[in-house]
């Protein structure tokens, strides 16, 4: 029997992997991929909770669709930024993206 907890464990594992990726990676592309991972972990969580706790309504599922949409838009924008950065500085290492400081 697969209960809500199993979904939540998968979701938490995926989220932690994504978080580790965001924190540990230096490549902008890998960071973006890790963010996607985190967003999808959230999606799993949302859908699971929605179908287990309130199956009559679709609120959680609809929010998951919104998250997917936003994630697509975000990745489009972020990839454009990374592209520009690569054109300008010939690197996508985020250690070099430190112009905006004191």
């Amino acid at each position: 029997m697969i209960t809500l907890v199993h979904f939540q464990i998968v979701s938490a594992a995926l989220f932690s992997i994504g978080l580790y990726g965001v924190m540990a990676r230096r490549s902008a592309i890998l960071i973006l991929m890790s963010i996607e991972l985190m967003l999808n972990a959230v999606n799993i969580n949302l859908v699971a909770v929605a179908s287990f706790l309130d199956p009559d309504r679709f609120a959680g599922i609809i929010i998951a669709i919104f998250v997917i949409t936003v994630a697509a838009a975000e990745i489009g924008l972020a990839l454009a930024i990374v592209l520009r950065m690569f054109r300008n500085r010939a690197t996508i290492n985020v250690d070099h993206m430190d112009l905006m400081k004191w």
């Binding site: 978080l19 965001v22 924190m23 960071i31 985020v94 250690d95 993206m97 430190d98 112009l99 905006m100 400081k101 004191w102």
Partner: protein, 630 residues
């Protein structure tokens, strides 16, 4: 509407001359003297018209013509003039002396490149002095009073390329400014209680106060403001301790000195006291102060005049001394005597200064020890100077004699014996120093270096002669004539008409003293048969003190460098260190310092931000969790 109302044209014409010179003077040089002299000549003629108007209506009345100037809050400020015997006499003196001085300057300043500017200030000077004399309210009076100070500053410092005139001009301006602050406060105090700047209203209230009736003025305020007004007058009239600027003012052109000493500037102070005499009369204690200051001033100044060797400085100290006499006379209720002396002295002093100018113009020196025997080469100057000297020395039939006598009588009537002795001594000293100046400069042997000196041109001797006539004859105006003129005491007086009075004992003492002074001067200074060297030796210290002007300048310098500059240095430090650095810059720099430390967290590294974000979310999450579960 009458002839009297034409009086406004007198200052206005000079003012238009000033505007005209400022506009056209630079392009057309000869137009400036023409405009200025023309304007003041119109003034001279109009004085007579106004005088006729005055006599037709009421010879001794006071008429005020004023229009609304502007309104502030509920206070209407008027722009107007007082036409009474006092102002008419003053206007006549100012116009006449200014005319003489300006004509004289035609020749004296002939080669000066700044001639237009010179005449422009002269015109403005005449305007402002005439407004001072005619003003019917204290505000207008004060404005004109300051303009007089400004013009004298500009004229004393006329040769601003040289250091000395600039210093003298600054000294004159600052010294009188200090006194003017007191004047302004006095005026404002009166305004606060009377509720109007109008002189007529103020005088009315002061009269009520003097009569012991209900008045807007309290006696405390009146005392304080009378004292403050008098301090203002002391500054302009060079009374001790404000006298220091006047001897230095010699640095300006000599005709300017004549104007300042005779008709404008210094007499403004005496005029102020005379004009506001009602206020002073309401508080008689202040009048005692006035007479003490006057007496001390005239005593100190006449001793300084006695030991000085610069012709112009002798005259300057003598002016201070005679201004002191006028103040003394005002303080002793001798209103008529003071104004009479003012006019008599004005004619004589203008004459003496123009004479001194003529001498220095011809011989290029002002030190009387280097002159001598000049009567042989410049007779007109010598004779007119002699008339001025005799008049100032108080020799009978000359103008100065009559007025000095009137002053003596008022002092005798209203003040105690010490004042009388002081006044007689001042009279003796002023005869002595005038005799000394005249003898040393004009009599004796002609020195070789002065052989080539020749008489000044007509334009300079003409005004001398014109000024010598009133110096000689003005005294006779004390006598009445058959045609309704009752002597000067029936024209200018305060409350009660005065007849000419002559006290035989006093008169003879003063005449004997004056004649004696002139008598002993000759053996003392010319033939040297009378020798006081042995006695002098015992008084060397005293003479030295006189020669240094009683160390007033040194004391002031000490005060300024040690007290004023040190304390202002402290205040400047306080301003910089406390107000500026701590009060104003303090908050700003502490914010900047905090920001400089705080901004260090902005590293620009993406993972730092991400870490902070994660940590933040974790903290918020755990707080929320604790709150929900707890």
């Amino acid at each position: 509407m009458g002839l009297m109302e034409l009086a406004w044209i007198i200052p206005a014409s000079s003012f238009f001359a000033f505007v005209g010179i400022i506009t056209f003077g630079r392009r057309i040089p000869f137009v400036s003297p023409m405009l200025s002299i023309g304007a003041i000549a119109i003034g001279c003629i109009l004085v007579f018209v106004v005088l006729v108007g005055r006599i037709k209506v009421d010879p001794t009345g006071i008429d005020v013509f004023s229009r609304k100037w502007f309104e502030v809050g509920g206070t209407e400020l008027m722009l107007g003039m007082i036409v009474d015997p006092l102002s008419i006499v003053m206007v006549a003196l100012v116009c006449f002396v200014a005319l003489m001085v300006q004509v004289y300057s035609l020749s004296y300043m002939k080669h000066d490149p700044k001639l237009a500017w010179y005449y422009a200030i002269h015109a403005l000077f005449a305007t402002s002095m005439l407004v001072v004399v005619l003003a019917d309210n204290f505000l207008l009076f004060y404005v004109a009073w300051e303009l007089v100070g400004l013009c004298s500053y500009l004229l004393i410092g006329f040769w601003w390329e040289k250091r000395e005139p600039v210093e003298a001009a600054k000294k004159a301006f600052i010294t009188t400014r200090i006194a003017d602050v007191a004047l302004l406060v006095g005026i404002l105090l009166l305004f606060r209680e009377v509720g109007s700047f109008s002189m007529k209203e103020t005088f009315y209230q002061a009269q009520l106060l003097a009569a012991g009736e209900v008045s807007a003025l309290s006696s405390g305020t009146t005392t304080v403001s009378a004292l403050l007004l008098f301090i203002g007058a002391m500054g302009k009239s060079a009374q001790i301790p404000f006298h220091v600027w006047l001897p230095d003012a010699m640095a300006g052109p000599t005709p300017v000195s004549a104007l300042i000493h005779a008709a404008t500037m210094v007499v403004a102070g005496v005029y102020l006291v005379a004009r506001t005499f009602v206020v002073f009369e309401a508080v008689p204690d202040v009048l005692l102060v006035v007479s003490i200051v006057g007496l001390v001033t005239s005593l100190l100044a006449s001793t300084m005049a006695l030991v000085n060797t610069d012709l112009k400085r002798i005259l300057a100290y003598s002016t201070i001394s005679h201004l002191g006499l006028m103040m003394l006379s005002l303080g002793a209720f001798g209103y008529t005597a003071a104004i009479f002396h003012l006019v008599a002295h004005g004619f004589s002093k203008a004459l003496l200064f123009l004479g001194a100018g003529s001498v220095s113009h011809a011989s290029n020196q002002t030190d009387i020890r280097k002159m001598g025997g000049l009567i042989k080469v410049m007779p007109i100057t010598a004779i007119t100077f002699g008339i001025g000297a005799l008049s100032l020395g108080g020799i009978p039939i000359f103008a100065g004699f009559w007025s000095k006598d009137e002053i003596l009588i008022s002092v005798f009537n209203h003040r105690n014996f010490l004042f009388l002795i002081g006044t007689l001594f001042v009279g003796f000293l002023s005869a002595l120093y005038m005799a000394r100046a005249f003898y040393l400069a004009f009599l004796g042997d002609l020195k070789n270096e002065n052989k080539a000196v020749s008489e000044s041109p007509m334009l300079m001797t003409g005004p001398l002669i014109f000024l010598a006539i009133p110096s000689l004859l003005f005294g006779f105006s004390v006598f009445g004539s058959a045609e309704g003129y009752g002597g000067i005491g029936r024209f200018i007086f305060f409350e009660n008409a005065e007849n000419f009075h002559f006290n035989l004992a006093l008169g003879s003492i003063s005449v004997i003293l004056a004649v004696a002074a002139f008598g002993i001067s000759k053996p003392m200074y010319i033939t040297k048969t009378l020798n006081f060297d042995k006695i002098k030796r015992y008084f060397n210290g005293l003479i030295n003190v006189c020669e240094r002007g009683y160390y007033f300048d040194q004391v002031y310098e000490w005060c300024i460098t040690r007290i004023v500059l040190v304390s202002s240095g402290f205040i400047a430090w306080l301003d910089r260190a406390v107000i500026n650095d701590i009060g104003v810059n303090g908050p700003a720099s502490s914010v900047a310092w905090t920001a400089s430390k705080l901004r260090l967290h902005v590293t620009g590294k993406v993972y730092n931000y991400a870490l902070v974000m994660v940590l933040g979310s974790m903290i918020i999450g755990s707080v929320w969790w604790i709150m929900v579960s707890g």
